[in-house]
């Protein structure tokens, strides 16, 4: 099975592809460091170790949220592109156009926040962006939304190109998702998991981005014609439909790295199976319809919608636990695993995803949500699976690519020290959030009650450790990606 070749020829990057890939990855690690720095500042401010004025705090929070979500989207798109291009024809112009539009969108967002003083958070909940009570002008909200639209258009362009590639090869998206094998038939053992996962992401996230575009355009119309009003509940549904699918798509794009790379490090084939196809078919549906769990405290929602939110939240745990995580653990169990940075990061990412889903599922229960909604329980669970789940997936690919350029698996002593610091910091940071949520500490507040400050300070210590480790990773990865391959030894010299 070709998948067991550590650095297969099909993953070689041409000169142009290499430049594009490096731009994505280096931009991402730099942005992650900067956004983490904002996170540290906010946690230290809540812990009274730093003085930050409320208006600045909410601008930093807006930047941190939009920046982290956007960067997660960008970096995991690069993961999907890196592997999907082996199986279907992808055009480099679409991949580069996505990057350019992302940068343009990011510039609009940065200008809206730091020049225009926008502080309506990444969720832009209607009608706050145009109802700031003088905190920022409507024009800033408009620039923020134009930034989102540019990023969304870039991603849709990339998805359209990927869709064209999939349809050319497999006939339609149903076949690339593997639906033809759900109820029987001999599954093609060479059907790539990357193709299945990419198809799911394209279907779900395109819908999410379009929902986001609808609400953003309606906002812009409302800014130009103030007499145009939206229904706040409809607006909230559209916003969370977009937000939930966008951030969830990052997990499903990121996990492609695990599907593709894990077997190479364990030395054991990681075959496609019917439960795998069922889990991705089910996840496609679940991720599209699960968003009402963000609106469980909107009692005006029809009852069946809230029940759907809870039931689908529970159901979403099945594919994660029983197929992806279980399958990966079964693959490495007593396999003679070659432990190195990519393999360690992959296992960490699966742990972060699996453990992070536990508090998330609990919060998807209506009666629990009544006491946990919008407490720090929420950033506790999503930081758990983003920081310890999705980001390590992307880092694993980066380390793998660095290894491919030197034909040597990345595993330096500094790497081996950096990872435990990242893990320890991440656990302290996220568990402090969860502990605070259990103590009813509210999220998204610039200042906290005296009895809440202890958890903020513990969280700040964890955040500093994560930041230090990430600065190391970012430096190591940037140098590794920019450095040319060793002459005569490189697995993947630029073509």
């Amino acid at each position: 099975m070709a998948a067991l070749t550590m650095y297969p020829e099909s993953e070689r990057l041409s000169a142009g592809e290499r430049v594009a890939f490096n731009l994505y990855m280096i931009s991402a690690v730099v942005l992650f460091v900067l956004m983490m720095l904002l996170g540290v500042i906010m946690r230290m401010a809540q812990g009274t170790w730093l003085e930050v004025a409320p208006d600045l705090f909410y601008r930093l929070l807006s930047m941190h949220g939009a920046g982290m979500v956007g960067t997660m989207g960008m970096v995991t798109t690069a993961v999907m592109w890196f592997f999907l291009r082996k199986y279907v024809t992808l055009h480099l112009w679409a991949f580069v156009a996505n990057y350019v539009l992302f940068l343009l969108g990011a510039l609009c967002i940065i200008a809206a926040i730091f020049v225009g003083r926008y502080g309506g958070l990444w969720t832009f909940l209607y009608p706050l962006p145009t109802h700031s009570m003088g905190m920022w002008p409507d024009a800033s909200a408009a620039w923020f939304m134009i930034g989102y639209l540019l990023i969304g258009v870039g991603m849709l362009l990339f998805y359209l190109d990927a869709t064209a590639g999939l349809v050319r090869k497999y006939g339609n998206l149903g076949r690339s998702l593997g639906l033809q094998w759900l109820f029987g038939g001999r599954i093609d053992p060479e059907h790539p998991k990357a193709v299945v996962a990419s198809t799911m992401v394209i279907i779900a996230n395109s819908l999410g981005i379009i929902a986001g575009a609808v609400i953003l355009v309606m906002y812009l119309v409302g800014i130009v014609y103030p007499e145009f009003k939206l229904d706040p509940l409809v607006a909230k549904n559209l916003t969370y439909w977009f937000g939930h699918m966008y951030i969830n798509a990052t997990i499903y794009m990121g996990v492609i790295a695990v599907y593709e790379l894990l077997a190479r490090y364990s030395g054991r084939p990681y075959a496609i199976s019917r439960p795998f196809l069922w889990s991705w078919a089910a996840s496609t549906l679940f991720v599209i319809i699960v968003f009402p769990h963000h609106l469980l405290m909107d009692y005006a929602q029809p009852r069946w919608v809230s029940i759907t939110g809870q039931i689908i939240s529970y159901s979403a745990g099945f594919p994660v636990f029983l197929v992806t995580v279980w399958g990966a653990l079964a693959n490495i169990h007593r396999s003679g695993m070659r432990w190195s940075m990519p393999s360690r990061l992959m296992i960490l990412s699966l742990f972060g995803w699996a453990a992070g889903i536990v508090p998330a599922i609990l919060d998807g229960t209506i009666s629990i949500n009544r006491v946990m909604h919008n407490t720090q329980w929420v950033p506790g669970h999503f930081h758990f699976y983003l920081l310890l789940g999705v980001l390590p997936m992307a880092l694993a690919l980066m380390y793998h690519v660095i290894g491919s350029r030197r034909n040597q698996v990345s595993n330096s002593a500094a790497d081996r020290l950096g990872l435990p610091i990242y893990l320890l910091g991440g656990l302290i940071f996220t568990l402090a959030f969860l502990a605070a949520g259990h103590l009813s500490v509210a999220r998204r507040m610039s200042s906290h009650l005296p009895e809440w400050i202890f958890t903020d300070q513990v969280g700040a210590v964890g955040a500093i450790l994560v930041l230090l480790a990430m600065i190391y990773f970012a430096t190591r990865i940037t140098i590794g990606l920019l450095r040319g391959p060793d002459s005569g030894h490189a697995a993947h010299a630029a073509a």
Binding site: P54, Y58, G119, G120, L125, Y126, P127, L128, S132, M133, L233, K236, S266, R268, M297, D298, Y299, A300, R303, I307, Q310, I311, Y314, G317, F318, L322, W326, L329, A330, I332, R334, S335, G336, M337, W339, A354, A355, V358, P359, L362, T365, I366, S367, I368, R370, V371, M372, H373, N374, T375, L434, A435, H438, S440, A442, R443, R444, M445, S446, E451
Partner: protein
């Protein structure tokens, strides 16, 4: 025991079990077994997965029934027949709570032991109406949304000063958007 403590215990148990499984697999991952022993192990893992599927299904059905058979949100389209009714209006950045028979501007007084209906709405943007008990724990919440009224039905059992905090970010004055009310022991209670 506060409800949050039970949730915390469940979460930590679940996350701890996940961590234990990972530790076990990681410790054993470096050991290689011969192909025959490997396929026996893989068969055992496959049957374990069936067991896990059954266990998760049981938890799924049991938890769904336990938490939904008495729906935790009261009906929104009919009167809730509560003896105490409080109208709540959130606005950037204050709460206005009023009840028939009580002077506006004074601290609201409620009685424990009988249900209170809160009718919550907003004059401008989304707010979160969360009630904190005298020990500082949330007992119930809903969203305060413009154009909609969300109804809470809650029976207080513990007398004391309850705090209302905004749990949905609403702009510069979000953190200090706080008010309070008193719950007194019901007469004869």
């Amino acid at each position: 025991m506060p409800f949050q403590d039970i949730i915390w215990a469940i979460a930590m148990t679940g996350m701890g079990l996940v961590a234990l499984v990972f530790v076990y697999v990681i410790v054993n991952a470096g050991k290689a077994v011969d192909p025959a022993a490997g396929s026996r192990t893989q068969a055992r893992i496959a049957s374990l997965r069936k067991g896990l599927f059954g266990l998760l299904l049981l938890i799924f059905v049991g938890a769904s029934w336990a938490t939904l058979h008495r729906f935790p949100i009261p009906r929104q389209d009919t009167s809730l027949q509560a003896s105490q009714v409080v109208d709540v209006l959130g606005r950037q950045w204050s709460w206005q709570m009023s009840m028939q028979g009580q002077q506006s501007g004074s601290t609201l007084q409620l009685a424990s032991g009988s249900p209170v209906e809160f009718r919550v709405t907003s004059a401008d943007v989304n707010h979160g109406f969360a009630i904190y008990d005298p020990d500082g724990r949330i007992v119930i919440q809903t969203q305060a949304m413009p154009d909609y009224t969300n109804k809470i039905l809650y029976t207080f059992t513990k007398p004391g000063t309850y705090k209302v905090m905004c749990l949905e970010y609403c702009g510069l004055g979000h953190a200090p958007m706080v008010t309070s009310f008193e719950v007194a022991k019901a007469a004869g209670g």
